[in-house]
Symmetry: C2
Subunit: 135 residues, 2 copies
DNA sequence: CATAGTTGCTTGTATTATGCAAGTGACACG
DNA sequence: CGTGTCACTTGCATAATACAAGCAACTATG
């Protein structure tokens, strides 16, 4: 359901960057193609991970939200970020992002308060805001 | 480093099923093609996730092991299993595998003793054995 | 100790997934 | 109204994966 090249990146955009619309996802750094994005959004919706609702003011747009099934993928995302945080520590990868972001990423590695971090992320997603500070 | 169709499945085979050799990986249910398997093993080795050592008795074979960097992916695998365990609960997916396996999978969802589970898995991998009972 | 497997690959080609460029209709905005 | 934006779709190019066959090094067997 999310083992292709793009699905988890879309979910990441929602979870960490507060993105909601087709156009938001298109503008991600990784530059997904328009047809692939449309296809993935449809699949994720079919699989009950996303659902779309009409945009409150702009009739051209829809807002995509995570279902509860989709929200349950947050721990998975956290572990991916935690692993990449270790890569940074191991000097295997240049730390991209702001110092504040690097701090947050490294926090993901601490097993102790993982439940708290996941809750913070859920709250941010529910509030429709972003977890990482925008660049 | 593991965002393609096969890499995580190979790592899963090592972690949960105690697989070690090229032939072991080929015999997985998902039926990876021989050329793709060779390519992925080489990539994973290049990326420092796997390393291969000569088989102690059979000169044709090599044993593939996870490096520490690879072992650090175990929490990620645990979350994937935990999520699929929830799928089973939600009746969205038929429970394949033995009842004992289903019990183990559901255990992965309990946030409380996640650290203990991860340690158990690490121990099994280090012992060269399997974590899930074989079918 | 010759021979028939087995093992871990490689090589060529078919198929599928992804990428790119150019649309299109519905709507927003001035 | 006219122009731009938005969320797509369509047609074609390229890259990733799949399939089939083969091969050298080794192992097991009579």
């Amino acid at each position: 359901m999310f083992g292709d090249k793009w699905s988890l990146l879309i979910i990441r955009d929602i979870v960490f960057w507060g993105k909601k619309t087709y156009g938001d996802f298109l503008r991600s750094d990784e530059a997904i193609a328009t047809n692939i994005l449309a296809s993935r959004l449809a699949q994720l919706e079919e699989n009950g991970i996303l659902e779309k609702k009409p945009h409150p003011t702009d009739k051209r747009k829809d807002n995509y939200f995570l279902t509860e099934k989709g929200m349950e993928l947050i721990p998975l995302l956290v572990e991916i970020v935690a692993w990449s945080g270790k890569l940074i520590e191991w000097q295997a990868v240049a730390g991209t992002g702001t110092p504040e972001q690097v701090r947050q990423v490294k926090r993901f590695g601490a097993t102790k308060n993982k439940a708290r971090i996941i809750q913070e992320i859920r709250d941010a997603v529910n509030a429709g805001s972003y977890f990482f500070a925008p660049r």
